[in-house]
């Protein structure tokens, strides 16, 4: 009798566990796991999206190495990643530290600097298109006002500055995101650490390099990964500004993938590009975690 009651309780629990899990799991498997696997499959076939699919083994992947379009887009993506990491992370760290040390207006500054993060990249890209207009745009007007007319450019067609102009909104938009993450981490550090450093006569620079960076190292790793994966999936800015053109001069891998799939209707090759993006993102995350695991053990 008692045993049977425990059995029914156990059974009810099992039924409840599945009943709560299944709806979410089903949607997730159908729309995330399934497509992911299907994407790997598509990368080994030739397919225009409607007709029959032919198995081509690794041909699409081999084409990655010979396609000049892919190679250009690949390097553009790498450049974007490098520039984002080099500018966003240090700037965000300094800003977070300054926010932490300030006593007034902390929320005000945090909100203003974070503001661009919440706006759609499509809107941001569109906004920069307006700024870059050679006659009416803000950028050339500012250069004129500052007496730097010699620096004026056709920002979105001059090949010397094109890629930089397309990368700028990505760098500008997400500094605030990294800043609030660093800032949130800083707030968990006991104030006394900084006070005693100050007592010992440490300068602001010393505190920053000797205390802030080591203490936040764990979080800096996270923002680094975020910055790299964020760059790998950047799409909206170049798409709205130049559609990756002229040619593929301002394409990232995502833009090329989109063009190959939905303009050229070559789903196989596009899926190989997708797979390359996924593999790069995963490899970076995993390898980076491995390399830096040593330091993070103590947490």
């Amino acid at each position: 009798m008692c045993n049977r009651m425990i059995l029914t309780v156990e059974k009810q629990k099992r039924v409840a566990a599945w009943a709560f899990l299944l709806p979410g799991l089903a949607v997730y498997v159908l729309f995330v796991v399934g497509p992911l696997l299907f994407s790997f499959y598509l990368s080994v076939v030739k397919w225009n999206g409607v007709g029959p699919r032919t198995f081509v083994a690794l041909e699409n992947f081999l084409r990655l190495f010979t396609s000049s379009q892919f190679i250009t887009s690949f390097w553009n993506t790498i450049k974007l990643t490098g520039v984002s990491v080099a500018i966003q992370i240090p700037t965000a760290l300094v800003l977070a530290f300054l926010l932490y040390r300030s006593t007034h207006g902390t929320k005000f500054f945090r909100a203003l600097i974070f503001l661009p993060v919440v706006i759609s990249p499509i809107a941001i890209g569109f906004m920069f298109t307006i700024f870059y207009n050679s006659e009416l745009g803000l950028l050339n007007t500012v250069l004129d006002t500052l007496g730097l007319a010699a620096l004026k450019r056709q920002w979105l067609s001059d090949p010397d500055v094109l890629l930089g102009a397309v990368m700028a909104p990505q760098v500008w938009q997400f500094i605030g995101l990294h800043m609030v993450i660093h800032f949130a981490a800083l707030q968990t550090i006991p104030e006394e650490i900084f006070e005693s450093a100050h007592m010992d006569g440490a300068s602001g620079l010393q505190v920053f390099f000797r205390l802030v960076i080591p203490l936040l190292w764990e979080v800096i790793q996270i923002t680094l990964v975020l910055c790299v994966t964020g760059s790998l999936k950047s799409f909206g800015h170049p798409w709205i500004m130049t559609q990756g053109g002229p040619g593929v001069r301002s394409s990232y891998m995502t833009v090329l993938m989109f063009r190959v799939a939905f303009l050229e209707r070559n789903f196989g090759f596009a899926s190989a590009i997708t797979t390359a993006i996924v593999v790069m993102a995963l490899l970076f995350t995993v390898v980076f975690r491995r390399v830096t695991r040593r330091e993070s053990v103590e947490y």
């Binding site: 409840a16 566990a17 599945w18 709560f20 899990l21 979410g24 949607v27 997730y28 729309f31 995330v32 399934g34 497509p35 992911l36 994407s39 598509l42 300094v94 800003l95 300054l98 300030s102 929320k107 005000f108 500054f109 909100a111 203003l112 600097i113 974070f114 503001l115 661009p116 993060v117 919440v118 706006i119 759609s120 990249p121 499509i122 809107a123 569109f126 906004m127 298109t129 307006i130 009416l136 803000l138 007007t141 006002t145 500094i175 605030g176 995101l177 609030v180 949130a184 602001g204 994966t229 999936k233 799409f235 798409w239 709205i240 995502t254 993938m257 989109f258 797979t275 996924v278 995963l282």
Partner: protein, 279 residues
Amino acid sequence: MNQLSISPRISVRSFLRYGVLALFALAAFYPFFWILLSSLKDNFEVYSNAFGLPTLWKFENYATAWAIGDFGINFFNSLVVSSLSTLLVALLSAMAAYSLARVRPRRSIYLLMTLGIMIPIHALLIPTFVLVRSLGIMNTRLSLIVVYGATNTSLSVFILVGFMRGIPRALEESALIEGASWYRIFFSIILPLSKPGLATIGTLTFLNAWNEFVYATVLIANPLLRTIPLGIASLRGQYFTDYGIMCAGLAIAIVPVMLLFVLFQEQVIKGMAAGAVKG
């Protein structure tokens, strides 16, 4: 005495500190402000009076931009799609998280369901297009609702499982002893206690859905079903030479998000930071 000798150095320091912060705040905000200013000017003034207030306030720019960008319809679609996908994610991932955190923890399923955090969203674009087409829901709001729901599930489950694990066991144990079912416990104990976590994932999902462009452009062709990012793209696409109108269109698209941000600042920032610090 000591105080006196230190204070000048401190004030120089804090002056520098606030100076740098103000500079970056300006760099983050001024571009939007310039768009707002220019949205009330004509071309001539955008150029000749780039930094000042408009001399002739062209409010009609907004009416024109509203009509050209079809913003009435776009707002409605964005609102429907973003709210329903947020509801969907909140309900399904809260239920899944409850199952995984409180009823019966299963590590393998938890890992599977949070795997999506690592997958760049564009990786699923082509197969999703094929899937949506074969399900016959191409060109429907439903397709966007389900896709946004699914792509935001991983992070939501991750955040909610973390949150629900923190709720004390004692509450539900006493409820179980009194004969409450698992369903009852979910709806009357766990769900109400998870409100802060739900607010975080809700804000995050809503914002993601509101801003999403690439899935929308692939899955929606019907102009009547366009969301705001598609409206912005079509504004850009029509060859336009009137900058005041373009700025007005942009302002219509971004000002509501800014207002929402001002209202829900804490949730948004917390959600974004939590979304980042995920692994």
